[in-house]
Symmetry: C2
Subunit: 279 residues, 2 copies
């Protein structure tokens, strides 16, 4: 990789110069521990702009008190090598102390889409996400930013924030990348024991059941929801939520129909995993 | 004036092109009904950048239910002429419907400095201000933005927001411009009856008393505060608040000392006026 930048100010100077040179900037926000899912976002970003900035920041404010901030997987040296191999122009990896002043008192809040699904399970999570993404956008000043469909609700919340606050950023959402056996790629997968790794397949299996139910004409979303919950439990997972919702509003969909979003969150041991598909 | 722009999207295209041409943009956010105070901000802006954008938007979300949104003075034709005379490059005057989607659900909140002074009297005011200024910054993409010291708390809150969210914008605060008799220039002054106009002088007179108190060695901030309240009442004003506070934190200052901020808000009839000075 060409440049590593570690402070918001340096990131802003770099971007201001690139903008003044008439270049288009793409941003891929990540929490690092990069996998093939992230790299697919980098490729989308490269196709959309002259310069690609990958941000690597494990954002403390989007983790709740009992959550896995301290043990979230980190390997910046490996991330740097992967960025270099993918032709990333800038790796922006600020320290938390350079991102948050001790007396920081400003936040970006999204108060409709954020209330449901992961927002209901993780109070404050999307406040942390919106705030840090706004900050990263103001540092990187991208024309386009690429997010993963794996975090479907996050992508919707960010799109809403961008629309409501007029961020001059096009949001691209790239498809989920899966392991050969169906498990959605996630930095957290590395924390799974072999038994938990096997149980984790319950998530993609449950999504398969939803697709089959639609294919055979099942319409009762609540019945399907309960069927998926049983599948997660039978796989050895502890369900956080199983939701069948409108793809745009995240309101519960009464009928299983093409276009609805099936979204799952469950714990394999102490590791919380999410997955989703649009039917 | 060279250009009038009315939609966020058109504003963004203009700014994106100016940035790509390597130009510096200055922004002067206003609610219109321009007076000499605003024009002094335009001159500061012109000195700081290649292009000056004046935004004219009476932002509904920063007015409370019982406040004066409906009767806030408006005269866009006169404002255009004044902008033209001052060499403003772009007058950005969006309609409220182009600024706020019916299902808008995102806001910028500042939760420390906003709680005091005007924030205590006007719940939600600074949430509206922060949100609209963030939006205007994202439309205009200024390198520098100029605010008036008349709205001292607003300037502090905006500086805090800019710092906390990493907006790549330098904030300049320009001094209060006053009428010959001392009344701070305000768009709302036009709403004052002759008797209210006379009463309104109580504000600048009270600030004078604070300066005199400091000069003669008075140190008890609370005693001075009460003295100023009496002055406002004697002038025929209804006090909203009289505060003597730390200039950076807005916390009450126990001692009258050089550098503290004396901030006043009072009603002349139904019109709420503010004024302040740093001792």
């Amino acid at each position: 990789m060409k440049i590593i930048i570690t402070t918001p100010r340096d990131m802003q100077s770099w971007s201001r110069q690139r903008l003044a040179a008439g270049e288009r900037i793409a941003c891929v926000p990540t929490m690092g521990y990069l996998h093939e899912g992230h790299l697919s976002l980098v490729r989308r970003a490269r196709a959309a702009a002259d310069r690609v900035v990958l941000t690597l920041f494990v954002n403390p404010t989007q983790f709740g008190p009992g959550e896995d901030y301290a043990v979230y997987p980190r390997d910046p040296a490996r991330d740097q090598a992967l960025c270099e191999a993918e032709g990333v122009d800038v790796l922006f990896m600020p320290a938390a102390a350079d991102m948050y002043a001790p007396d920081a008192s400003t936040a970006v809040v999204e108060e409709a889409l954020s209330r449901r699904l992961c927002g209901a399970s993780r109070p404050g999570h999307f406040r942390g996400v919106c705030t840090v993404v706004a900050k990263l956008f103001n540092c990187v000043r991208p024309d386009v930013a690429v997010f993963g469909q794996k975090d479907a609700q996050q992508a919707l919340v960010i799109r809403r924030m961008v629309r409501d606050l007029d961020f001059p950023v096009e949001i691209v959402v790239a498809p989920i990348v899966r392991e050969p056996d169906g498990l959605a790629k996630s930095s957290r997968n590395v924390r799974l024991s072999p038994a938990e790794r096997a149980a984790a397949l319950g998530l993609s299996r449950a999504l398969g059941l939803a697709r089959e139910a639609l294919a055979r004409g099942e319409r009762d979303a609540d019945a399907v929801r309960r069927r998926l919950e049983r599948e997660l439990a039978a796989s050895g997972l502890r369900t956080d939520y199983v939701e069948i919702v409108d793809t745009r509003t995240l309101e519960p969909a009464p009928l299983l129909a093409p276009g609805v979003l099936v979204a799952l969150a469950a714990f394999a041991g102490r590791t919380r995993l999410i997955d989703n598909c649009e039917l």
